[in-house]
């Protein structure tokens, strides 16, 4: 890769390839779930934080979007009502139902996924 490479097109491509190989903080990294008692999930930098949240059945869960991009909260198995597109600082709240594990994602940026674990109250 150190030999001269002709054409700017190739250089542009190399930019993409080598950047994609470099270590980089992936969206949706697990965060410490100490704040779970507040049952708040912050959407920031195209990630749900915390990515996994454990709540008791009957408690409320609120997502708030801190990005300049709209995001949604959609249950993978359609187990709870989906949000509309949340603009910056908009919130979406649901009440945790039956105990179980609920996965969800952003239907606009499907790489963004999260999990709610509901335990008995």
């Amino acid at each position: 890769m150190t030999t001269p490479t002709p054409k700017s097109k190739t250089i542009a491509l190399l930019c993409v390839i080598s950047l994609s190989l470099s270590p980089f903080a992936l969206a949706g990294e697990m965060k410490d779930a100490d704040s779970s008692k507040q049952n708040k999930i912050e959407i920031k930098d195209f990630a749900f934080n915390p990515q996994t949240l454990t709540v008791k059945s009957g408690e409320k869960i609120t997502w708030i979007n801190r990005d300049e991009e709209p995001h949604t909260v959609v249950s993978v198995e359609k187990q709870f009502k989906k949000s509309t597109a949340l603009d910056t600082d908009q919130e979406f709240t649901i009440t945790a139902g039956a105990p179980g594990t609920y996965t969800y994602f952003c239907s606009v940026h499907p790489k963004m996924t999260g999990t709610i674990v509901v335990v008995k109250s």
């Binding site: 700017s8 993409v16 994609s20 903080a25 709209p70 993978v76 606009v108 790489k111």
Partner: protein, 321 residues
């Protein structure tokens, strides 16, 4: 500017100049010229400043505009309607008007009727009246794209969620939808129904027919960590491999990137609203705020020209500065 890597301190195939050149490609509207099957693109500024450099004797020239995000008003660009207007002014000032425009999606920021209204109102100032659309994910946020389809597919025979094809001057154009029914953890998606339609759509075309495919999310894997790719694009491209000239035009990533793979040329256009970071250079792909005086150099459009008998279309990117 040299096309060679002169300093490669990290042994990664990139030097500072090459990277900046790559970066400089980012964020413009593009004028695409189909000249003998090769696309060339120019930023809007280049069009204004170097209009003479555009190929003159072409059989077909059209323009790609993308990611206008009407309704966005954050730090990265507080007046996206104004920069969209400037892009249209540049198109109106072109010495050879494009035959038509292609808008590769994200017309609006939040799919709101009033945002579509503003876009339509501003677009009236464009002298080029024919516009072909594909939706971005921002255009189909809450209704699966119904409002978008009602407004922007009147002049085409759209199928399914809004895909279609048409012919101009011997070139076969295919508009694809890859922003609907996205799966958790996945990328952009075309889906079986659309892929089957595509296979049938091109089945009877001669291999010398130039093909132009346009869709919002890149149909090549630019940076999957940010969702910049389409999960089933390989299957689509498989149906197109036998053709001598295939040009794929995308938006979504708000910067110019190009790749050539066999007879297929991939090109992404700048936005008219705000730039986004180069792949992996920021914590997220969100809007990138640049110094005010730099913004317009990172917005733009692409011109495409085609000349019969030549192999590829020429794509020329130009920015708004």
């Amino acid at each position: 500017m040299s096309d060679y890597i002169s300093h490669d301190h990290e042994h990664d195939g990139i030097d500072r100049r090459g990277f900046l050149q790559c970066m400089a490609w980012a964020g413009t509207g593009l004028l695409w010229t189909v000249s003998g099957g090769v696309l060339a693109s120019k930023t809007l500024a280049q069009i204004a400043k170097a209009a003479d450099a555009l190929p003159s004797a072409t059989d077909l020239s059209f323009l790609q505009i993308s990611d206008s995000h009407i309704g966005f008003s954050k730090e990265a660009n507080k007046d996206v309607t104004e920069t969209f207007k400037i892009a249209l002014d540049r198109i109106n000032a072109m010495p050879t008007p494009p035959s038509f425009l292609i808008h590769t999606g994200d017309i609006t920021q939040l799919s709101k009727p009033e945002e579509f209204d503003t876009f339509d109102q501003v677009l009236k100032s464009c002298k080029t009246k024919d516009v072909f659309y594909v939706p971005g994910e921002h255009d189909v946020l809450n209704d699966g794209g119904k409002l978008y389809r009602d407004r922007y597919l009147k002049s085409v025979e759209a199928k399914g969620s809004g895909w279609y094809s048409f012919n101009k001057n011997g070139v076969h154009f295919i508009g694809l939808v890859n922003v609907l029914d996205l799966q958790a953890g996945g990328l952009g998606q075309l889906g079986d129904e659309q892929l089957e339609w595509l296979e049938a759509d091109v089945k009877d075309l001669g291999t010398s027919t130039p093909i132009v495919v346009f869709a919002h999310i890149p149909l090549w894997t630019v940076y999957p960590q940010w969702g910049w790719g389409t999960s089933d694009s390989e299957r689509a491209l498989g149906y197109l491999k036998r053709f001598g000239s295939v040009t794929v035009l995308n938006g979504h990533i708000h910067q110019v990137l190009q790749k050539v793979e066999g007879n297929i040329t991939f090109h992404t256009a700048m936005s008219t609203a705000f730039p986004q970071p180069a792949p992996g250079t920021a914590p997220s792909p969100g809007p990138m705020t640049v110094p005010a005086e730099k913004l317009r150099s990172m917005l733009g459009l692409a011109s495409v020209q085609y000349k019969q008998g030549k192999a590829a279309l020429a794509v020329v990117d130009s920015n708004l500065s």
